[in-house]
């Protein structure tokens, strides 16, 4: 886990290792939990892999970095660019904790290579607020208490931002009675279906749905 010049703030790990009292218990379990794929890779490759120079545009900033081609966009963000807001849950596209926006569209950053995103406009949860002014979806999650432990929250929020754009564009969903209808009414059933790629193990779903409903209505 090489530290680079691109970090723009302390990581959760650095904070935990720094001896924060509440971190003592977590510090032993989080690194192993957070990097299961890294452990496999390290064992499988004896020689250091050649790296590729690339420039990624993240939250309106061009960031240049040298990465092993295997580096997923999520690992590039978290381990090389100091952007630890995007979370690693399952690392297999099943939980949605790593959701980011690429050219305005929500994707799982764990299931794509950083190298594939040169030239794209990438927005992470860190890039949603304008200064101290939260993005309306962020504000709605706070107002509705749309989380409990918070681990899935950055992915939930990025996913909701992307989803609201899809709904505004009139995209139907599996919950839509008529897929040919020109517009979408974001009922709770629609919100739940459209957000099914984001899992919350605390099951804060009622408040997550309420927050997204508020954001959709501009509340």
């Amino acid at each position: 886990m090489a530290e680079t010049d691109y970090r723009n703030g302390p990581t959760r790990r650095a904070v935990l290792e720094g001896g924060v009292a509440t971190g003592v218990l977590l510090a032993t379990s989080i690194p192993a939990y957070a990097e299961p794929a890294g452990a496999v890779s390290a064992a499988a490759s004896a020689a250091p892999a050649p790296t590729m120079p690339m420039t990624l545009r993240i939250n309106a900033k061009d960031l240049s970095v040298e990465l092993d081609p295997r580096t997923t966009l999520l690992d590039a963000l978290r381990n090389h660019l100091g952007l630890t807001g995007s979370k690693k849950g399952c690392d297999h596209g099943q939980c949605g904790a790593c959701t980011v926006l690429v050219d305005g569209r929500r994707i799982n950053s764990c299931l794509t290579l950083a190298a594939m995103h040169e030239g794209d406009e990438i927005t992470t949860v860190e890039g949603l607020a304008v200064g101290d002014r939260l993005h309306p979806v962020q504000a709605a999650f706070v107002a509705r208490d749309g989380f409990q432990c918070g681990y899935c929250t950055p992915g939930q929020i990025c996913s909701a931002v992307g989803m609201l754009g899809e709904a505004r564009a009139g995209w139907p969903s599996h919950a839509s009675a008529d897929v040919a209808a020109a517009s979408v009414a974001l009922t709770d059933a629609e919100i739940r279906e459209r957000m099914s790629g984001n899992i919350c193990r605390c099951a804060a779903y009622p408040n997550i749905v309420a927050a997204i409903r508020d954001a959709a209505e501009g509340a």
Partner: protein, 328 residues
């Protein structure tokens, strides 16, 4: 994940040639299935040719009155296209029944067709699997096989093809256009793209190494109402246990023609031609739907855990046909 080199393809021809030049090279597009398998070291390409930015991302009208869908059209864009929604609603329904919003935004049309099975033994490198490791055996035959095939399976493999999109495309008689390393092109009916497992389940399609899917062409929409119905273990973001795509054309109280494809039952989207023959000319009734379902599943074989799929597929077909004739 094993080490690999990466290049971004400059053109379709160059991409095909770049993959053909190395036995362990692979195309990568959305990556949502391939990277998952690479992390588990089930797929171990030495070289990746990124085709995701090739200009194959348009949906165009064909002279025949159908649509030509570029291989790099994302699943979400295909599902949301107004022409697809109004003329091929079954295809939109199938796409939206699959995966999650995030994955549909990434997954390509060609990648969806070529995705690998989700058989748990294919995914578990500690278990035998003829598809993953030729000749190692099939752990699913005597194992946890409730999600497995009941049609077209073999003693070597009972895995299913997981796509929803491909099932709708099979019902729509889609044709697959490919480009080969020498620049030659060919068109493959979707029913011929995927091979049944027989003794070589590791060979899943008729595509050669380096042969790349360029587009999927949909013939003009056939007359009749289209319905895609999927039955799964949870209401969203789960693979099909059974799915049915049906297009039924009525004339008075009789069925003029029907097209039916099933998912979750075989190693490829399964066109139910016997059921279609049974329905042609029959009075639209539950009796006719039952006869069709019996005909479709006549050759079905369960393996214990998946025995329930046979009656489930029959009931799903009856239900889907009934929905298709309701306002046909």
């Amino acid at each position: 994940m094993q080490s690999f080199t990466y290049e971004r393809a400059a053109s379709a021809e160059q991409a095909a040639a770049a993959v053909a030049a190395q036995p362990d090279a692979k195309f990568i597009s959305g990556g949502t299935n391939l990277l998952d398998l690479m992390k588990l070291e089930i797929e171990r390409p030495a070289h990746l040719v990124d085709i995701s930015r090739l200009p194959l991302d348009r949906i165009e009208e064909t002279a025949a009155g159908g649509l030509r869908v570029g291989a790099q059209v994302r699943n979400s864009d295909l599902a949301a296209d107004p022409r697809v929604r109004s003329r091929y609603p079954m295809l939109t329904q199938a796409l939206l029944a699959g995966a999650s919003g995030q994955i549909r935004n990434k997954a390509s049309t060609s990648g969806n067709l070529l995705q690998r099975t989700r058989c748990p033994y294919f995914y578990d490198r500690n278990m035998p699997c003829n598809k993953r490791e030729q000749g190692s055996g099939c752990a699913a035959l005597q194992g946890f096989n409730r999600t497995h095939a009941v049609l077209g399976a073999s003693e070597a493999c009972i895995a299913v093809h997981p796509s929803d999109m491909a099932v709708a495309m099979a019902g729509l008689d889609a044709r697959i256009e490919t480009i080969s390393p020498g620049g030659e092109t060919r068109t493959i009916p979707i029913g011929d793209l995927h091979r049944l497992p027989e003794a070589t389940p590791h060979v899943e399609t008729v595509l050669g190494h380096g042969e790349m899917i360029a587009a999927v062409t949909l013939p003009p929409p056939p007359p009749g109402r289209q319905v895609y119905r999927k039955v799964r273990d949870r209401a969203s973001y789960a693979f099909a246990l059974v799915s049915v795509a049906a297009i039924v054309e009525k004339s008075g109280d009789r069925i003029r023609s029907a097209r039916i494809a099933m998912g979750g039952v075989a190693a490829r989207p399964w066109r139910a031609t016997e059921a279609e023959r049974t329905l042609a000319g029959a009075v639209a009734s539950d009796g006719a739907f039952t006869d069709a379902a019996e005909a479709a599943l006549a050759g079905a074989v369960g393996h214990g855990g998946n025995d329930f799929k046979i009656p489930l597929a029959k009931r799903t077909m009856r239900h889907t046909l009934a929905a298709a004739v309701e306002s046909a």
